[in-house]
Symmetry: D2
Subunit: 343 residues, 4 copies
Amino acid sequence: MEKLNFASDYTQGAHPAIMKMLVETNLEFTPGYGTDAYCESAKEKIRLACGAPDAEVYFLSGGTQTNMTVLDAILAKYEGVIAAETGHVSVHEAGAIEFTGHKVLTLPHTLGKLDAATVENYVKGFYADGNFDHMVFPGAVYISQPTEFGTIYSLRELEALSDVCKQYGMRLYADGARLAYALGCPENDVTLPDLARLCDVFYIGGTKCGALLGEAVVIPKKGSVPHFFTIIKQHGALLAKGRVMGIQFDALFTDNLYLTLGAPAVEKAERIKKALTEKGYTLYFDAPTNQIYVLLTDEQYASLGEKLIMSFWEKPDENHTAVRLATSWATTDGDVEKLLTVM
Amino acid sequence: MEKLNFASDYTQGAHPAIMKMLVETNLEFTPGYGTDAYCESAKEKIRLACGAPDAEVYFLSGGTQTNMTVLDAILAKYEGVIAAETGHVSVHEAGAIEFTGHKVLTLPHTLGKLDAATVENYVKGFYADGNFDHMVFPGAVYISQPTEFGTIYSLRELEALSDVCKQYGMRLYADGARLAYALGCPENDVTLPDLARLCDVFYIGGTKCGALLGEAVVIPKKGSVPHFFTIIKQHGALLAKGRVMGIQFDALFTDNLYLTLGAPAVEKAERIKKALTEKGYTLYFDAPTNQIYVLLTDEQYASLGEKLIMSFWEKPDENHTAVRLATSWATTDGDVEKLLTVM
Amino acid sequence: MEKLNFASDYTQGAHPAIMKMLVETNLEFTPGYGTDAYCESAKEKIRLACGAPDAEVYFLSGGTQTNMTVLDAILAKYEGVIAAETGHVSVHEAGAIEFTGHKVLTLPHTLGKLDAATVENYVKGFYADGNFDHMVFPGAVYISQPTEFGTIYSLRELEALSDVCKQYGMRLYADGARLAYALGCPENDVTLPDLARLCDVFYIGGTKCGALLGEAVVIPKKGSVPHFFTIIKQHGALLAKGRVMGIQFDALFTDNLYLTLGAPAVEKAERIKKALTEKGYTLYFDAPTNQIYVLLTDEQYASLGEKLIMSFWEKPDENHTAVRLATSWATTDGDVEKLLTVM
Amino acid sequence: MEKLNFASDYTQGAHPAIMKMLVETNLEFTPGYGTDAYCESAKEKIRLACGAPDAEVYFLSGGTQTNMTVLDAILAKYEGVIAAETGHVSVHEAGAIEFTGHKVLTLPHTLGKLDAATVENYVKGFYADGNFDHMVFPGAVYISQPTEFGTIYSLRELEALSDVCKQYGMRLYADGARLAYALGCPENDVTLPDLARLCDVFYIGGTKCGALLGEAVVIPKKGSVPHFFTIIKQHGALLAKGRVMGIQFDALFTDNLYLTLGAPAVEKAERIKKALTEKGYTLYFDAPTNQIYVLLTDEQYASLGEKLIMSFWEKPDENHTAVRLATSWATTDGDVEKLLTVM
């Protein structure tokens, strides 16, 4: 029997609405490199959803590629990017940011989140150091919404970060790889228009939110990243058949699909957390979106592993293992039931 | 009425066999980053087709990305890559190779092809120069098969290039963005096993040969490019849902699809060239694959442009324009008929 | 007996005025990194000599380092630099420009010089190409004064280049590795104030013009290259004992030394050219500064090589060798006499 | 009256033996780029002093430049360098390492030193992580001897680090910017031959140890860093008048000058520490080489600042300032007396 798979939110294909549109448009002729009508339509729908009628929108293939291309584009050569020490750019991108010549300046985090005061303190200290011009200038702040810990920034927290950035001439960039699950989270109060208002650049994740691939980069203020198209090409990030992403985002932004597909996944995660707690499991920490962190004994980990695919998170001590489970837009009630039978 | 579109071979979606398989497998669970069973199956079929049972195979998203990632991986830091001055890496990649720190050393071409003697002469001259260690070492030779001019290397020519590379310690890398159209060309005598035998690395193009996206990098000699997986990640070129490319290449290498889908496109191109010549058109130059180069008067160019989408190639003089038409795996007899009605 | 050495203008130490000042100040205490009073004094003298009271001046160690640091600082990430195909940055810097991520866009030359019309034609063609945003943008023009061929730009030619640059939003950068020999050349009409008026950045060469090491980068318009100090550090180009260069340039710009030390070298080169012509030698081409290009038979080359160190220039045919001789600020009348005895 | 200056060990010129030799050889003719007889002589003397007859030796201009060039040369593209979080490459090089595309992987330190167990623990954890191939490989370990805290590695500690490096396929690189002061320290038991035996590359610092500029890179195992000469050039680190450094290192390695000039500086630092302690000052921490770390009240800091130039170290709390004083090869007994009068 096949194992249950709660390892991540990128383990299945695309939302049926996307597959339908890809199939229906398959033999149509379009120009390349994102200049087709589907890309244009998707961009316009995204502008509308973001309340940013002048925004530039670009489609890239994956998260690391997007982070590397955007950060290289918005950082001056002598600048680095501030990130939580647990940020995706800090740890899990094989040095892609450094590959483009920029240092990742890591700061302590709280469940994956950067605090505005922590950032301000660092930057203040930087400029107070008499030798700061021998060091890497903090040019941008990288956050992820939700974070790698499944937590989310509140509007107040985001505004505070934005204020610090403005005060010290830094750009604010939000990685929205799993943004649909923040938008579908009951306690979330940060909307797409908020992101467009507070960030210099952010991306709306497709790969983990219902697409086969694709991330939509939003630059709210038109012209603020000159020649980003060419920078995309230079970073190897320009797809010839741009329509593949245009069509997918057009489907995702039709009938509010992107804004609504996260909620059921988050609801299922809540249901799972509640049930697991009742069964006596310990949550490693609580996260309000689609990721569930459970502390297991090593025996539990081994025996569960025979029926369930989880993500290893870390080993807090010699006898325990923390794991991550994730729901997604595609998780069914049946999947949840099976999980709760197995666990 | 919609215009006819012969602008390129990436203007339509994917081969129906691919779309079918993408749809059928859509809700299956697979692990990420190319570690799924579809990728493995596709790799195995490619190894078989290449007669290279130990080859490493990786799937990347696009041509520029592949060229940049492979070349950066196979060049030492003090090395550059030799390419025809018309090579894609020389002109149309927005400096992606230089972005990775390597110089493109351009040499003269003959209809897009590099001659072994030209390469040897350059490299000999390089090492004869007393100051060569103040210059960029030629570390690899980049060719495209077919070239940007639709021409192809013969087996003899490829062997000669391979010999020069071996003699001077250079790697040979072939960009196969349109490889299916070389393989489907009657006068072609270079097979996939030949490429695997003669090149250090090459790629089998998907995007222009029936896939939505994807290029299959083949490293015939296992282990010869250490940690290429991590280098792919570092260059932002690793897709989370690697299956999207695995499934496509699995379909393309089922029932010899990749080996056979080029021939009809080439046959149609031949038919078009013949008909155009009979109608009195002048071929700008003759190319044996799926690209057709026609010399038009500027008046012809303008009036044809109202019904037909072509690619501008160059302006050889003040009154003429050279254009490129391309057939593809998706071109129908009906498309050809309409073209010949219009022209 | 030691061979005569006319191989280059960097084969001897420093001008006696420099050595004297280095020795006299040796045990004085100064702060580091170019913040000392000698650097400040030298900068002020250079500003005065350039008629550019607000210019920023920085001291770097060598030519390739300076070219790489300045060009990386003034180019946007998607830009390359236009240079003559014989430019130092194009050929003899081991790919240092590409190492910083930028392409060198080479154009044809006339005895090492770039023509404004050639540049304009290229840039016009670039922006006329419908696909220009898939290519490297021309962001700056690199010239050397004098060129690698010992030739010099006239004021009119420099103004024409500056005009083209302004028209197309490119920066103009002049490599003055041997600038003293242009300034000391009777036919030269380009002054330091002209360079400061027409270039966005240029450097006043020390290494080949009387210093042990050091090149003075002049940025006429203050603030136009933000945080250049940090970029210098980032490129490994910041000397701890910056005074070593400050003292040297202070000496070079005291009593017009820099403006006057080139003329005797050029006068000696003229004398040598005249004498060699009278002796029946053929100049390979004529250059008005301190470099002398002579066409020798291979027999002459071999036999002269026993007594004289020359620079190999190129082999124009199977029986001849072209060589370069160079005079310098240190060449004595005795050296010239010996040379004319030997040749 | 001029202030006393104990700010650093690079505030004065060069050792008189160096100045003498620079002056005496000034008008001699030599070839460029480090190919002259003085460089060769200096290299041979360094090989002898290191007990490494086959070592390759190169002269670069400064510390950051050397670190950036060496690390880029010895790291594979997918590798980063492990360093103490206080390492010079981690903090004070304006991102020069990242500029070359490599991440600095920082680990906790003890007074500037990396512990072999800390390194081993990190690397073990790295390879134990199932996702390590999505992360930056640890390819080298950077240490400084003495460290930025004036502390030194013992032979046993260095051997332990070397063992960990060998075990995990990492290179060991030692930054010897102040190496003479380690060699001149009574408690030091690490000799030049030890460094040559245990490190893959290290450099013998000149700038802070008696030279005007220059660092001697030693590659004990010939051929282990292919084409390092070209890499130096590519990084803008090749001086045309290489003799300037060759002559200085020739002087430094004549009559054991380099091995003996550190001891008097260290002895003076010891004398100062003893006297300051007796006067009631608190050492911020104790370091055995030429750097002295003193904890001052902010009032003391302000009033001393009127007569003495110190280096600000850090502010441990709101009322205190920690400062660094440094002696050097040039510090006289008179300087020490004046210091002890002032403090």
